[in-house]
């Protein structure tokens, strides 16, 4: 079976500093992959590379078996097939929740305003935010904003969702509501790549966990392997720090 996403030999540096050195990754359809590792290990950069938000230096990224890093490929078309959610929500502050959600369906996917509106309503009802439809983002709590950001990405019916530390900017009591949305997506069979610091969540939701250390995948395996029996000393060290911090 063709992988949904395949990353081959990816190298990426910012201003001479290598962030990703020779990264390989395969994500099967309906698979949930969690990227773990300390801050600055390259998790965010990898997701941004897959979404073509930053140019890559070397290597290749394939979506459904076709290269998307080929210069001839239109990045706008590629991005229509995937959604990304950011750590800082990045909702558009001058638009209501409804306008945030229907922007891409209406302007990029050419869906009628009425249908896009209907879609926004359905999503908001499903995630329990129906009464916030005409609010501006700064009237919402962080957890609500992040859920709207997820809905905004889902409104385009993506085949792949990328999550970039989506709970890192939230107060602890708001984390669960966002993680539950992602759990719901797993149950529906969404293919996802999730960069996260929530180890309990990663163990729970991931089919595959990748430990990223200094720009390379040091260890990849099932949650059981990575969390119960890590073979690399660096992985053990990282997990021990998480345990010491009371986060696992």
């Amino acid at each position: 079976m063709t992988a949904k996403v395949e990353v081959r030999g990816l190298v990426k540096s910012y201003e001479g500093k290598v962030v990703l050195r020779n990264v390989d990754l395969e994500v099967a359809p309906h698979e949930v992959v969690c990227l773990i590792g300390s801050s600055g290990s390259g998790k965010s950069t990898l997701l941004k590379c897959i979404n073509l938000l930053v140019p890559i230096d070397e290597g290749d990224i394939l979506l459904d078996g076709a290269s998307i890093t080929d210069p001839m490929v239109n990045p706008n078309v590629v991005r229509q097939k995937m959604g990304i959610v950011f750590q800082a929500f990045n909702l558009f502050p001058h638009m209501t929740v409804r306008q945030n959600i229907i922007l891409s369906p209406a302007k990029v996917h050419g869906i009628s305003k009425r249908e896009a509106d209907q879609r926004a309503r359905e999503l908001l009802e499903r995630f329990g935010l129906a009464e916030k439809i005409d609010e501006y983002p700064d009237r919402l709590s962080g957890g609500q904003q992040q859920r709207v950001a997820i809905m905004r990405a889902l409104a385009t019916r993506p085949e792949l969702m990328l999550f970039d530390e989506v709970t890192s900017a939230l107060d602890p009591e708001l984390v669960a509501e966002v993680l539950n949305v992602i759990r719901g997506l797993k149950d529906e069979g969404m293919t996802m790549v999730i960069a996260t610091h929530e180890m309990g969540f990663a163990r729970d939701v991931a089919d595959k966990v990748c430990f990223l250390d200094d720009g390379v995948f040091l260890e990849t395996g099932t949650p059981g392997q990575i969390f119960e029996a890590p073979s690399e000393p660096r992985t053990r060290q990282f997990l021990q720090r998480i345990v010491d911090a009371g986060r696992l």
């Binding site: 979404n51 991005r79 229509q80 959604g83 558009f92 922007l103 302007k107 501006y136 708001l174």
Partner: protein, 289 residues
């Protein structure tokens, strides 16, 4: 990152803002002090000017009521043309400058020629004094007698103003576009929006809100600079005043024109200040409870 709970949050940045309540007594006291100080300062200046030996002569030359009345209809008629020129030019400037700024904001090597053209245009126009631009275009282009090209000095005078102000206003917009955080652009692009769509729906609406005070400042400036087309012989307020002066050797008509410009620009200037203050308060209101 997250704000306080809903019940104690301030009003929305994008909806309304309550002005902080002031203590009335304090306000009244401040008003009295301001009034006394204003009267004192103005009185002093007035006394100083009026005590000049040449004042009666100056008054006859510049502040002559009968000349004021005589010149008024022609100057007012000319001023109507100033207002029309201003209105037409301002609309064109706001549109042209936004297009220039958006082109300048496009990224990627494919847009390099466009970007370079815009930067070249802005540099060129900003490097030429506006009065020269008006003279060169206003006398130069009609002299070419190109078929199909308007040859009225009025047309080219306004065109020169539009060209010059567009370059400056484009830089105002650019500052606004750059003030919108990069993550907004990224969010727009990640949703599949093209560069132009992302600018149009995401960046520019936020940018414009940020630069409205600066744009209003440009309004005030242009309101008076439209008078510069008088050098082309266009019969607007200053030109009419000049004609009156040439006929009567009395300068009161210029004062009449000055009064008209003042009456038109002070409200805009006050509005700009009021609006800037409102934006500042709003910004401070959000996040700080």
């Amino acid at each position: 990152m997250t704000g306080p709970p809903d019940d104690i949050r301030g009003p929305s940045l994008w909806t309304s803002i309550r002005r902080p309540r002031r203590h009335r007594e304090e306000g009244a006291r401040a008003a009295v002090i301001a009034a006394i100080s204003t009267v004192a300062v103005l009185g002093l200046i007035l006394w100083w000017v009026l005590s000049s030996e040449a004042w009666p002569e100056v008054q006859r030359q510049f502040f002559n009521p009968s000349h004021f009345m005589a010149a008024w209809p022609a100057v007012l008629g000319g001023f109507w043309l100033n207002i029309q020129m201003f209105a037409v030019a301002e609309v064109l400037i706001l549109i042209a400058a936004l297009i220039l700024a958006m082109i300048r904001a496009l990224r990627g090597p494919a847009f390099f020629p466009l970007r370079a053209l815009v930067i070249g245009f802005i540099d060129l126009v900003r490097g030429i004094p506006i009065i020269l631009l008006i003279l060169l275009l206003g006398f130069g282009v009609p002299a070419l007698q190109l078929p199909g090209v308007p040859n009225s000095p009025l047309f080219w005078g306004v065109a020169a103003l539009v060209i010059s102000y567009s370059a400056y206003t484009a830089e105002v917009y650019r500052a606004g576009i750059e003030s919108v955080h990069e993550s907004q652009r990224m969010a727009g692009r990640s949703l599949g929006l093209t560069q132009v769509q992302s600018l149009r729906y995401v960046t520019v609406p936020q940018a414009i809100r940020n630069v409205i005070p600066a744009l209003l400042n440009g309004f005030v400036s242009l309101q008076k600079d439209v008078a510069l087309v008088f050098v082309l012989g266009v019969r607007e307020a200053v030109r009419e005043a000049q004609i009156y002066n040439a006929r009567t050797f009395n300068y009161t008509a210029y004062v009449a024109a000055a009064v008209l410009f003042l009456v038109a620009s002070v409200p805009v200037a006050r509005f700009a200040d009021w609006y800037t203050e409102r934006v500042r308060r709003r910004r401070q209101g959000v996040g700080g409870v």
